[in-house]
Amino acid sequence: MTIVAIDRLPTSVPTELARGRGGGGPASKRVVVAYGFWIFILSDMVMFSALFAAYAVLRDNTAGGPTGAELFNLRNVFIETMCLLFSSYTCGLGALSAERRQPGRFLIFAVLTFVLGAAFLFIEVSEFARMVEKGAGPSRSAFLSAFFTLVGTHGIHVASGLVALIYLGGQMIANGLRAAVLRRLLCWSLFWHALDIVWVGVFTLVYLMGDWH
């Protein structure tokens, strides 16, 4: 039996022999890590689906309190949506710069991503504060409980994403773009894109359909 060192494998290996599908040995750590994180993200989506279901079921139970159409400010929601969308875009460009070992460019995109994410969070929190001030807090009606749980959980995800981004930026500055840091960045960008996908569901179901109702 001949043992072929992995670096001697010819580049013309047919894709049928690719690693992770039974040929050529196990998948690389990077693929395994990202796949595991992908599974986590999908489980997070399943958790969000329960909150979406609760909101969809409880949206009309306003207990005589304010309805969505009375409370929501669609202009702010549009600005929030654009902040998060552009932040997802700069996050993607940042991940690309990191892949290409361009730390300076990566840092610029990371700062942009952070600022846009923070702007999103700021608008959301001030919106929440305004609603609570008007007496439309989470304890007012089942509709508002479901609203604050769903949108608040998404907001907490964004906030923890921002904290993780600071932590990753620090790691990048301290250690450079090493393989381990790159893997964490890759996972982080998956998380951030997934949050934008959840937000598409939020603004459609909660804000736009709530306003139409």
């Binding site: 690719a18 399943v46 689906s49 329960a50 279901a53 549009f78 998956l190 598409v200």
Partner: protein, 120 residues
């Protein structure tokens, strides 16, 4: 080093466009443009009578699915290639659970509501 060949015959990783690095900036920008279009369309549809009013929720749901598809393809780079099979299968299973939880809840509660005795 193994790194040199790693990208040539690996599984695809969600979020990474490994095989056509030159097209990547373009693909993110195309994704951004399509997502902005879908977002604006959603807001316009919800605020105007462009669609037949009872059809507006359906229109919004269709636009949301379109935008989610754009995000998956252009931002998460989930393609239809053989290398993405594992990622797509995991996604399909996740979406099955999401679908069951949401439609199941709405269906069951709507049924309960319609069978409830009137409070008056």
């Amino acid at each position: 080093m193994t790194d040199t060949y790693e990208h040539l015959f690996d599984d695809r990783t969600p979020g990474v466009e490994e095989h056509e690095p030159t097209a990547s900036y373009l693909s993110y920008t195309v994704g951004l443009a399509l997502a902005i279009l879908a977002t604006i369309a959603s807001f316009v549809v919800s605020q105007t009578d462009l669609l037949w009013p009872p059809g507006i929720p359906v229109g919004l749901i269709v636009l949301a699915f379109a935008q989610i598809g754009v995000h998956l393809v252009f931002f998460l780079h989930l393609g239809s290639g053989a290398d993405s099979t594992n990622n797509i299968l995991a996604l399909a299973f996740g979406m099955l659970i999401v679908f069951l939880v949401i439609t199941g809840s709405i269906w069951i509660i709507a049924n309960l509501n319609s069978n409830m005795m009137s409070m008056q």
